[in-house]
Subunit: 458 residues, 4 copies
């Protein structure tokens, strides 16, 4: 830990930045930071300045001499960086609103990770991450890329497989939440006693759990948490997903614990009904988040606020930034912390292609993530997992090449989208609606517009 | 071809039997038959006699001395059999009507192979096929089992993997139809010139095609058949599936040709709409077939009719029996005919488990099916294929053990069923409605009934 | 079969050419040949003319109007070719003599395919086949490459994987011989009744056999042919391998039939002893072949000889050229003949890498080889097969890059070479001895010479 | 760590027991032992008593109240055991002497793990481990089996796959030695700083190493340790293997570090020469060990000796017992120590069968070993690894069934044995020589004796 670090955060104007600041400050003994650069685009400059000043106040309050730089010049920031974290959102929250509202119109789930919305988020994000990598190849060829831009799994797969940036680690906060919840459920509130093994894809993983006496407690946890007669879940589940219980007998039969996002796949009709109700009320997740963020930025403007405000927890996505800071500290110190990250499969999950990106329990060393072997899944998880990976591959190919055919294929196999002619209408409207952010689909969009496809905001 | 053959047909009272008779007669030079036994259950005795007399007339008209035996005593028939063909339907067409109408009530596709209906058909059929195999082990341990009872893929997998009957071959008529259609589309009407390679699962396979000059014509066929401006499909597609066009750009991008049943997966919303419309009119496929069959049996009663009537073609499933006869003749004569059959994977499709049953182009030899190697699928087909196989495994496990949890898992991952709480209602109602045919689920059904679940015929 | 064919034979001055001529003439009804080009290098010009005139006499005697061109200008010949067959030998038979005599000095098997000699033959040959492919890319981009230059498996793998020439088929005569022998052993002399399935690598494959009644006769064949009390083998085994019996109980236990070359692996000490005895007498296989060839060329000079002389059979390698002609005729006519060829694995043998080249029973269609699926091998064959494939990969990498380290690795893992310090001496002497034919190893050889390594002919 | 432990050591009369005692005592804070049972057979009773008294003195000197029981009644010992460690040697050192001397007579390597000697050690040991497991199923169904009887990999595979005892962990001291050596080579003498990842089979594994700054130092270690100009190896390599340097360029090209035992495979001729020289002098490893052990037992008899004597280090196999104690302590305390153990593959090494036993870096938890994923090997290691695994499978099958054919197959594919007719003589003599310890081969041995095969001690 001799070298002084330069950390760069792309999408630095995000409302999450104060959490990131807090996470870094919390690890000040393990992180000898010289410079922290917050980068954003011109459109985000105002937010960048608000949140950047906030971060400076936090650093100062901690009595640290870290330099906090704010810039819209990415190349300036990237020069000689040691770590690049990414938390940007192409098209900002308005794009997410479209991602969620257009599918609702077609009675389909938008869902910003794996639904139709997630596919479009990937279409907008992947070309940008590849641009960033191109800059990094020139400006900081040895830097680590810590991605927590969603859909984190696909963005990480694009970075590693298409961009060729091996030193990429993708992050998600979901496993942190369930690990805590499980410890609580077993009577270890606030401690990290249980041995967890997670495997799958981002927002599509399962886990098994063992107690310190060697007994597997996976089934016991299912009974404690998902028994329909228990109130446990209501009190402990993550905040940014609608609370729907699972079919208890299904989980008992499956024998491994799904993640919070599996509700979209295991209880899709119920989730769709809830989503459509929110849509009717103008309360899609994106709309709610947009209001929360506006309030957060008002708070951040307060020149006396020098700590992460409690309201940020409502934003959802708690622990995301904390996870990023822990990955950085583990790499710098070869700490060998066990974390759940998106990394190269290399046979960890034998049901998936060798060169895929998977989200798995790993030891974080100075040379990156070393995953625990998982092996294969039972049939009740295996096929859907393989389907999701195939969909991710189609989305990435479509995103990189602007390939309309692959986009249709991705929509067709996505289990949250009903295939058929209405699906084509939805896809086409979403393409036109995202016109400004999808240069790779320029010709297709022009053709669709010529054929009369228009985006009608609802 | 020295030994005189004994062929046994379980479900001999089926309306298909005259086609089977015709197929056997057509191959009289390659099949030296001594006895043909038609077996059915007591409830089907009347049909058995009608259709059995019809078969006798056909044999006689051909000037053959084959003995046609009719019996409801399966063990009598199986003794020393060389070939056992299975075409039975547990619960008869009324069960199929329930398979289709109950899901429709829940806005879900019944579909007698892979939808909710297909799952229940598997639940009813698999225990019976395992019973038959138990008899065969004792009575005709060297016989071939030629299965064309649907869902043919799952029934064949159960026979081989659970029943341990290696000498099982599963059959489907769909590839015969598409092979003919493709030859026609390339200008070889009535000929079999093109080289076809099929791979996948029953009712869920794709194919590639080459012309006699070595050029691959798969894309050309997609253009000829599935171009929305072409009328070709309308004139040539199989009769027992609603005619819905595919998304042309999807097929172009996929680069392999789906089977007729892929409509349920690629155009699921359109297919559902059509199915619900039929449901409203009381014209589900099962109801239509029931009427057609009643008419057929009226015809069969005619003591002067000694050839397959043209009306049978309307029944759907043309070529099924013909395929069975060709398999038998190829085995007997080591003919090495190329056919598409359900057989052990053994690595033929590398995306699927080694010990799975797959439906693939094979050479039929005296020792069984020798499949052409296929390898792996492109992403646009791979994931769904893997999902379907995992669903099949869940269905088989549920069917064999009467495992309610596995049944829920199967329903949950099935892409034609929307998961969630309504799904549970549908599953439960279907279990109760099938009470008479699911002894393995006896306890579950009793519990459901106690909880107030009832079947309300619509 | 409308287009008139242009066939090019690289290494046209080979003593095999009359057999090739005979094979083509035999298939005159299926091959509408316009031009047949025999190509050789300057050093082989005299032989080319002798054998070329011989071929012209054969064609004339058959009453055909095919043009037989002789040239040392490869590019002239390749222009617009339809088929390119390769049977060249870099360094001619003197190189093979070195390949066999140097290892003998180190008490090691030379063996022109998989032993140390075979490795050096690959080192000399692979760069040339890649050169030929480079020419073909420009001059005849749609031509088929039919390779029967040894080591045929590695040369084919280099052509397809390194050269990128997908339309390559590798050939071997060994399966033709064993198929005939097996038919004879089962009482079908001169017929092709049995169903054979071969799989493995060139000169390292096994097969299973079924009779026309469907019974597997693999064990029966082992008993008939390899029972130590039987004389069958002595009378029927291929001529160019020393006759050593197998350990009968091993084959019985293995349950699949090895190829003739497995003697080198299953009976390595005995084979080595015999080889060393030949070496002492100056009768290594290469030396014997050299004398036979000299006699053959004397015969070929006879201006009245217009048919393949019987003495050619003594040369060994019977059926090689015939196999090549059959592959060509099958491609031209989409004949779907079953042959054993080297082609892409694609999962045919699940124990080997997907992109490997394997030698397997295939149907030869107009678009190339369609292998029968094989699956996995029993342990007694699996591990050695996987070892051999890894060795082939190392050899190809060494051959392409001139990589000394990979050459050492290949020698180390080769089961016919004892690893250690003597092995290094042997490798080094062979490198120096092959100086003129290994431009890719130029620097390594220079360094070795500087260190005092010399080739001392024995 | 609430429960008081009962530990049972089968082969308790071994000269290693004092090291085991030392290892347990060293971990007294983590191991709350009530009873330690040392079990041996009648023939080993004298040794058991000597070494048992020694262990009691060690325990007493440490001021512990552990009960040390000595018995020849295995069932008495196993009752309610928590851990069973196995370090027995069927046929004692005289059997090992035969294992090494008979092969030498045939100019072949005996080698007590993977050579002909190792195969026979497996033949003698596997039936006994399966017997022990049968007792455990009844007497201590929840106990862990910690095996360090050689050949440890095959014995562990037999215990898990044939015996069905999932809670088995196999141990080897080799990785402990190389991990220490590598740390020393990088300047971390006495520390454990480097991140090691090992994978392969027992006595046939490789490793990669990373420094705490994240840089891979595998190549640097090869340069430091295996450069022929360096003396490092001479000073640090394990003591029980003859010191022969590797071909440096091979290791550089391979890019991963082999284990000490790879000398037998990479430098087989040199190792054979050394072994034969020892054989001539009556100084095979077994003979040397026998003398060392006799001296050790003289020391152990001293009623004042209550600590492990230094001479034990000369015995070879240092750290073996220590490793066993660390595994036990890690399981009891859920310590999650990183160790290299033999455990189920489950896809950890994708080149090997899923259900194989492999030796890999793992975290030792309360529920057993959780291996780090490895993935696939480069060609220079992959094929030999796969070959060795196939050989292990053949050996286990032969050992369990007494299958002579599988024994021949195992000998044939073993790369340390030259195949052929001499091999058959060697195998047959070894079978006869081991007559007293191979009940499963009783019939084969009787037949061989009838045919005149005799064991002639050399």
């Amino acid at each position: 830990m001799s070298k002084k670090l330069k950390i760069v955060t792309i999408g630095g104007g995000s409302s999450y930045t104060p959490e990131l600041a807090e996470g870094l400050i919390l690890r000040q003994d393990r992180l000898d930071i010289k410079e922290w650069w917050l980068v954003d685009i011109d459109a985000g400059k105002e937010k960048l300045e608000i949140v950047g000043e906030m971060a400076r106040r936090q650093v100062k309050a901690a009595g640290l001499d870290w330099e906090v730089h704010l810039t819209t010049d990415r190349t300036l920031a990237l020069k000689d960086a040691d770590f690049v974290t990414t938390q940007f959102r192409v098209g900002q929250l308005d794009a997410r609103i479209r991602d969620e509202r257009i599918p609702s119109k077609y009675h389909s789930l938008g869902q910003e990770t794996n639904g139709a919305g997630g596919i479009f988020k990937a279409f907008r994000t992947i070309p940008v991450i590849l641009d960033i990598i191109n800059d990094m190849k020139e400006l900081c060829p040895d830097a680590w890329l810590i991605n927590f831009t969603n859909p984190a799994g696909m963005v990480t797969e694009a970075a590693i497989k298409v961009g060729g940036w091996k030193k990429t680690i993708g992050l998600c906060n979901v496993p942190i939440g369930s690990t805590r919840m499980n410890n609580t459920a077993m009577g270890y509130d606030g401690q990290d006693v249980l041995f967890h093994k997670y495997a799958g894809l981002n927002h599509f993983h399962w886990h098994r759990v063992w107690d310190k006496d060697g007994s597997e407690v996976t089934n016991k946890l299912i009974e404690t948490i998902y028994n329909p007669e228990s109130d446990f879940l209501k009190d402990h589940e993550v905040k940014n997903i609608m609370l729907v219980g699972y079919n208890y007998e299904q989980l008992k039969s499956l024998g491994i614990i799904p993640c919070a996002y599996h509700r979209y796949y295991y209880m899709s009709e119920d989730m769709l009904e809830g989503t459509l109700a929110d849509y009717e009320k103008g309360e899609t997740r994106a709309e709610v988040v947009k209001r929360t963020e506006a309030e957060l930025f008002e708070l951040y403007k307060d020149p006396h606020l020098d700590y992460k405000p409690e309201q940020l927890a409502l934003r959802g996505g708690a622990h995301y930034s904390d996870a990023a800071c822990e990955v950085i500290a583990s790499i710098v110190n070869d700490s060998r912390t066990v974390m759940v990250v998106s990394t190269q499969n290399n046979g960890t999950i034998t049901d998936l292609p060798y060169d895929s990106i998977v989200e798995v329990s790993s030891v974080i060393t100075a040379h990156g993530a070393e995953p625990f072997n998982w092996g294969s899944f039972p049939a009740g998880a295996r096929g859907q997992l393989q389907l999701m990976k195939s969909m991710e591959e189609l989305v990435i190919e479509a995103a990189v090449k602007g390939d309309y055919g692959k986009a249709i294929e991705a929509f067709t196999v996505n289990p949250l989208i009903n295939s058929g002619s209405h699906m084509m209408d939805m896809l086409n409207e979403m393409l036109v609606a995202n016109k400004d952010y999808l240069p790779q689909f320029k010709e297709t969009i022009a053709k669709l517009e010529q054929e009369g496809v228009t985006y009608i905001p609802q």
